[in-house]
Subunit: 216 residues, 2 copies
Amino acid sequence: MAARSYGQHCAVAKSLDVVGDRWTLLVVRELLDGPRRYRDLLSALAPIATDVLAGRLRDLEASGLVDRRALPRPASGATYALTGDGRALEDVINAYARWGRHLIERRSPGDVVRPEWLVRAVRAYVRPDRDGPPVSLRLATPDGSAAVAITADRIDTLADDEDVDVTLSGAAEIVAAAMNPARVAELLTAGRLRIDGDPDAVRRLGQLFAPVPVRS
Amino acid sequence: MAARSYGQHCAVAKSLDVVGDRWTLLVVRELLDGPRRYRDLLSALAPIATDVLAGRLRDLEASGLVDRRALPRPASGATYALTGDGRALEDVINAYARWGRHLIERRSPGDVVRPEWLVRAVRAYVRPDRDGPPVSLRLATPDGSAAVAITADRIDTLADDEDVDVTLSGAAEIVAAAMNPARVAELLTAGRLRIDGDPDAVRRLGQLFAPVPVRS
């Protein structure tokens, strides 16, 4: 719980009392991918300060959003996992990801990219009403790659050496932009995006994402 | 734009760079109800400090989320209105409202209630796939009342003296809890909630809200 409450009997303000502190939602974003050790979170969220991360995890545990589980011996330390209430924050996180999608179509100098964050974008941007057979997809960037299998009702991360139906290759901001079908032709023509894979699977992939207006 | 960027090329982190500062989303929440003068925002968001509000409005204007419009003479001052990008934050705000709905089913001592925030809850909790004829609803609490007309594709605030089909009366936290059909019978039986109106309209109202699991 944040040190200071807004003191407003409003579901938005009360939620921000719990998860509105700086860094808190980004800790939750990392834990949506599965339980993590402290040192993994510290590395994924760099340059977060270690006392800030420890404080946020304590707050999340006190609010019932994260469970801390001691590792079985002989290992030492603990893992942190979201509870059901914590996982329910995925809707808030995906709403932010959709609202800010144009912000990752350009890259600011010095910004770090992790392939897991592009997978977060896939999860937020695929149509909730999609159907049809599964498509597996690799996002290949100079900053690393990630692979996912998209089915009608779930999206699973794949091991990075698994064969996939389609690979999108390019800079992270180009791969992000390519999740908007309205931009794909332009990016291919300019030679900034490469798509490899079975033409049928490429076509199905294009139907999994809803086009959004292109910003100049 | 926040003073400090997370430095992460991720649509969630980039969004929080823009709207993650304390108070910012609550300023947007107020402006979703329409353009406001500075002094109206200061009063609706009390106890926000005046320099904090001024700073947040400047940041929102610099990020293209709010337009400042000088009032025509002889009036002085300005109104603040959301741009299209600003209004698009309603999805994020409603996601928070849904996540935190159990938090307003009890009232913390000292918390302020404004009827507009209960209308925000209505907007967040009605089924997006609702249909059927319109229902108008008054939420009457000891802290003030508000009225809305709910149609298949929009929710409009009504003048507070307009006739409505259904009135829910009770403490703010009871009226909030009554937006979950799974709790209505218990609240009526306990005498904590009162429902007045045409039985057909009451039945239709009950179908506009999706039941959610009741917490003990």
